[in-house]
């Protein structure tokens, strides 16, 4: 299942799964372009139907544990089975590491629990701390702006801004730095040919087109925007001059 942002004409990104009530699931999505958020809330019947398939919403990042559906669905289970049901410490570390790596790679859409794991801040792995330099400080205005972001998005955004600051040698994060990091293409490079074609796009739509092409590249897992990709995106920006 996918949600489409009709305004930006793009697929929304999966954020996380929450449990807003008993026997109810809330699945939240954000448009990667305009950052609009939607939440899909299931009723008890829908929740149970999804669960009874024995599949993981958003995709699996770790193998299923033996008899997990049966053990987790019984109202009353023996204590011994519940204790044994918990993954081993090693398995938990491995899962957490996989989730953190996935989040860092911008693949948060894979698992319903990826954002929750991100919120755990790489607990026990030290992964998050690695990306946040000790010298980076947040101004009050920047902190207040971060507070305005929904809690489930906050760790990811914080990590992204700090990573941008570190990369650019910035020690104090201000709202301006936050804006700049938002437009940072990250590791995506532009080939010379693609850059030249970008220049042909009228200046008033160029930033939007640039952002959109970078988004498409990110979605495809590409690290370089090439002539070919520009050609493929041409139809979308028909009439923009490139």
């Amino acid at each position: 299942m996918k949600f489409v942002c009709m305004k930006c004409e793009s697929f929304m990104s999966f954020n996380n799964v929450q449990t807003p009530g008993e026997q109810s699931l809330g699945v939240t999505f954000t448009c990667p372009t305009c950052e609009m958020q939607v939440a899909m809330v299931t009723n008890a019947g829908e929740t149970a139907m999804v669960k009874s398939l024995g599949v993981q919403l958003g995709g699996r990042t770790a193998p299923a544990t033996p008899m997990e559906l049966t053990r987790s669905s019984l109202k009353e289970t023996p204590e011994i089975a519940e204790t044994e049901a918990a993954p081993s410490a090693t398995a938990q570390q491995a899962l957490l590491k996989a989730e953190t790596e996935k989040t860092e790679q911008g693949e948060g859409g894979g698992c319903p629990f990826s954002s929750m794991v991100a919120q755990m801040g790489g607990m026990g792995t030290g992964e998050t701390e690695k990306t946040a330099p000790a010298t980076v400080s947040w101004s009050e205005a920047a902190e207040s702006r971060l507070e305005g972001v929904p809690s489930f998005m906050r760790p990811m955004i914080k990590m992204g801004v700090e990573s941008y600051a570190q990369k650019n040698g910035i020690s104090a994060i201000t709202p301006e730095v936050m804006d700049a990091s938002k437009n940072d293409p990250g590791d995506i490079r532009w080939s010379k040919g693609a850059e030249a074609r970008l220049e042909n796009i009228p200046s008033f739509v160029r930033p939007m087109a640039k952002k959109e092409i970078e988004r498409i590249a990110k979605e495809r897992g590409e690290t370089e925007i090439t002539d070919k990709m520009m050609e493929e995106s041409k139809e979308k920006f028909m009439g923009m001059g490139y």
Binding site: G54, V55, P66, L69, T70, T77, R220
Partner: protein, 300 residues
């Protein structure tokens, strides 16, 4: 008011990425199941359209007979809501959850036993699922289907010669096709009936139903075929007639006749298998031997 955008044309320009990979998850589930079942030579279900005819007793004693003949045996109790195989075989315990799968408790002769009983809090705890059971029987069916899948795929059965699967009574008519769907290479079903006309009428329906689901019928066991007097050991008639007629009508071999016997009833209630010299043990040994020969002759 702005005109509505055309979703079809929007989607044409978007590249779909399947994050959830539901299809892959389902395929992975079936691969796990196939790998697990691939290590078991013979899979047999024990079924009947009627409740209370002795399916579990038959399963337990047939399993004992195969094990006594030197085969490696596993027993899966698919009667999710009324599990009784553990009690009949005198097995208590829990599954041990490991990274490779769930290790089942072991019964007499090293038989591996799997049952919902091992997942319940205590002996009188009913099987109750978290979920809107009152809202959706469809959901319950799906849930039970996937519980059975987990029993087949997640339990470390290891290398077995025989896996006997005890099905619930006929009311749960979805179970035979579920099993046949999960184990297409199923060797077949052993049907249990009593000589009662009422029972036979219902059993006939279940045979048609199972055949329709592609399950081969291996034969019928006539249970409560008379009763053995505990005082003088003479056999008395419980029902007029027998199951020869239904076997002929349904083109099924009559695998054997098991009389109602107090010692057998006590053995099942106490979880102490009948000794090997008991006539009923011999009956089951003959049935097991016959089934084994038949299945070996079918090797292709």
């Amino acid at each position: 008011m702005k005109p509505e955008k055309d979703l079809k044309s929007i989607l044409e320009n978007l590249e779909y990425r399947d994050d959830a990979q539901v299809q892959k998850q389902l395929v992975d589930q079936s691969i796990d199941l196939k790998i697990r079942m691939g290590r078991i030579k013979r899979k047999i279900v024990v079924m009947s359209g009627k409740g209370g005819v002795g399916k579990s007793m038959t399963t337990a004693n047939l399993a004992l007979a195969f094990a006594r003949a030197g085969h490696k045996v596993g027993v899966l109790d698919v009667d999710l809501n009324g599990p009784c195989i553990p009690k009949m075989l005198g097995v208590q315990g829990r599954f041990e959850i490991t990274e490779e799968g769930a290790i089942p408790p072991v019964g007499p002769y090293g038989m591996k036993i799997a049952s919902m009983e091992f997942l319940l809090k205590q002996e009188d705890t009913p099987v109750q699922w978290k979920g809107p059971m009152e809202l959706s029987p469809v959901w319950l069916g799906l849930m039970e289907m996937n519980v059975i899948r987990e029993f087949l795929a997640d339990i470390i059965w290891g290398e077995l010669d025989y896996l006997l699967i005890d099905l619930p009574p006929g009311a749960a008519a979805d179970k035979p096709p579920v099993i046949a769907g999960f184990i297409p290479e199923l060797d077949g079903a052993v049907v249990v009936s009593t000589p009662s006309e009422v029972t036979k009428a219902v059993v006939k329906k279940s045979i048609h139903y199972a055949r329709g689901a592609g399950i081969p019928m291996l034969g019928l066991i006539e249970n409560m075929s008379g009763a053995i007097c505990p005082e003088c050991s003479t056999t008395v008639t419980l029902y007029e007639g027998g199951c020869t007629d239904i076997c002929a009508e349904m083109d099924l071999p009559l695998l054997g006749k098991i009389p109602f016997d107090q010692k057998l009833a006590n053995a099942c209630d106490r979880g102490n298998p009948l000794d090997t010299e008991h006539p009923i043990s011999k009956n089951f040994s003959d049935i097991a031997s016959h089934l084994h020969d038949f299945l070996e002759s079918k090797k292709y």
